[in-house]
């Protein structure tokens, strides 16, 4: 629902980077999107293509790396990928494990032709 806004914020980041490297031509932007970020990757791709189309940015590619939710057990320090919303530590059975990744909504890199 808000993916178009997210797409436009990604393009803002690309524009900011382009201003820092005026001679470079940016061809690809890489983002990391966590499972908990509340962002639908297909909608984001669709929105991004739509706002790039017909502009000087074309054919700028958006590459999405999806990040799974990882939990850490406060008791035995075991780290595991959370599936089916089961927060229980598979090693020691602790229920109140903590989320250590999966909230990402970051621009991580850009590819440029110089």
């Amino acid at each position: 629902m808000h993916e178009l806004g997210i797409a436009s914020s990604i393009l803002d980041c690309v524009q900011a980077e382009a201003r820092r490297h005026p001679k470079a031509h940016i061809t690809k932007v890489g983002v990391k999107i966590g499972e908990l970020a509340g962002v639908d990757v297909d909608c984001l791709q669709f929105g991004f293509e739509a706002i790039v189309k017909g502009t000087d940015w074309e054919p700028l590619v958006l590459e999405v790396e999806s990040v799974p939710r990882i939990q850490r057990c406060p008791q035995c320090r075991h780290e595991f990928r959370m599936t089916d919303f089961d927060p229980e530590c598979p090693q020691c059975g602790e229920f109140a494990t903590q989320c250590i990744s999966g909230e990402e909504l970051d621009v991580t890199y850009m590819e440029v032709d110089e």
């Binding site: 629902m1 808000h2 806004g5 997210i6 914020s9 990604i10 803002d12 980041c13 980077e17 490297h21 061809t27 983002v31 499972e35 908990l36 970020a37 509340g38 962002v39 919303f85 089961d86 927060p87 229920f95 109140a96 494990t97 903590q98 989320c99 909230e103 909504l105 970051d106 621009v107 991580t108 890199y109 850009m110 590819e111 440029v112 032709d113 110089e114």
Partner: protein, 226 residues
């Protein structure tokens, strides 16, 4: 072709603004809460009951967001506290810029508690930090118990879940136990309160939650100044 590492939040602009707001609240000991739920879960009614129970001298202010109409601000203004409507004109969430803009006319020195009522939506508001101390998610007994599993992002990011409309429990096929279990599966550390704004059941515990958190915000600001 070369690769440039960036490491930047996609919503960097919003994040910077939100951190600035958070700092302004922190310095002054203001507690800011961001209420989020589906449309019709009872955010506005709970706020009416909340304002009704506040001491007349309480320094509370409300920002309430909707796509259209000033209806909620009208409902909430009758209690005598400062209330402002944020009409987003179609945007499905509030962002930090809207908060900053609508706060501009108020003196933050006159506020202890700032309640933000987000646009009714369980998806988009979860991505936008408004500088709040806590996100609070409402789930009503007329919805499905699996909402926390369907919309994990917001249930994960909220510190507190308020189960609303509990007066309807005898009449609806809703298991409060299952809803709470699902919420804790997504967010094991989640605090949960049960309220009925209609009968008033549980509202005192919610007021107490606010009071304690407000006190904590005050003492933190005091420690900061010392």
């Amino acid at each position: 072709m070369s690769r440039v590492e960036v490491e930047k939040k996609v919503l960097n602009e919003n994040q910077i603004l939100a951190e600035q707001l958070r700092e302004r609240y922190r310095e002054r000991g203001i507690l800011c809460v961001n209420l989020i739920s589906s449309p019709g879960s009872g955010k506005t009614l709970l706020l009416e009951k909340t304002l009704e129970r506040m001491d007349k001298g309480a320094r509370v202010a409300v920002l309430t967001g909707d796509l259209q109409t000033e209806n909620d601000a009208r409902r909430l203004a009758k209690f005598g506290f400062p209330v402002k409507q944020i009409v987003t004109g179609g945007t499905c969430h509030l962002d930090a810029k809207m908060i900053e803009k609508h706060l501009a006319a108020w003196r933050l020195e006159d506020i202890d508690l700032l309640i933000v009522e987000n646009v009714g939506n369980l998806v988009c508001p979860s991505s936008y930090d408004l500088g709040e101390d806590a996100k609070i998610v409402l789930l009503s007994t007329t919805e499905g118990e699996d909402k926390p599993l369907k919309y994990p992002s917001i249930f994960f990011k909220s510190e507190l879940m308020i189960l609303t409309k509990i007066d309807l429990l005898p009449y609806v096929p809703f298991s409060a136990a299952l809803a709470k279990e699902n919420a804790r599966r997504v967010h094991p550390q989640m605090e949960i309160l049960e309220v009925s704004s209609t009968t008033g059941e549980g509202v005192d515990r919610w007021m107490e939650w606010l009071r304690i958190r407000q006190q904590q915000a005050k003492s933190k600001a005091f420690a900061l100044r010392a």
